[in-house]
Amino acid sequence: MRSIVGLFVIIVILIIIPSIDYAFGQEEPGKYLDRRALIWNLFFRMMVVAFTIGAVVSGTLFWLCWRFRESNPKAVQTKYEQAGEW
């Protein structure tokens, strides 16, 4: 339990507080903004996040399918399979 709390504290300090601070701490823009730069930068940042998460998730799925396939030499039968029940 303590480690979970510790983990959350780390996440909050590293990610959540800077995000909120960044969102609220911005001064009113005194100069004209280039909306092209803002919007495209946001798009590219979001794409980096999306592709990174996509790679991690799909990589995990590929690994799961490869590791736990029936023909894997390291595969271990479940207790039901060992008992011939399934």
């Binding site: 979970i4 983990l7 959540i16 823009p29 100069k31 004209y32």
Partner: protein
Amino acid sequence: MAGHSTWPEWVYVGVVIALLVWVGAEAWEVERLVEHVPEGAEVIKVTGQQWFWTFEHEDGTKEIGELHVQAGKAYKFEVTAKDVNHSFNIPDYVVLMDAIPGRIHTVWFAPTEPGEHEIQCREYCGLIHYNMRGKLIVEEPLS
């Protein structure tokens, strides 16, 4: 009782929440900045109708199918339509706003360099929608 260690699940939950918060904060901040109209922005009334755009400057000057603006100046578009729904789009400057009869929607932009850019309708509005285009002409600043 789960009967097994649950810390990887909590890590997963924490990472997902943190990512969602971060993505939300970034997008919200950019939206806030983009929607903030600077003081002194010149208002241009934009009216869409089948199948052309009309522009009216603050001094009353009207233009049809062409819009002349100056680089380095901010402009606030007040976008509306006369007949059916249209959408006012300047792709090069990422300006996109629905033009709806009876409503006025606002969007602002500040052109940076002189040049010519496409204006187009982005909402299917009838037979000649494909050719409901205009020209944005960004001129050198006067002063």
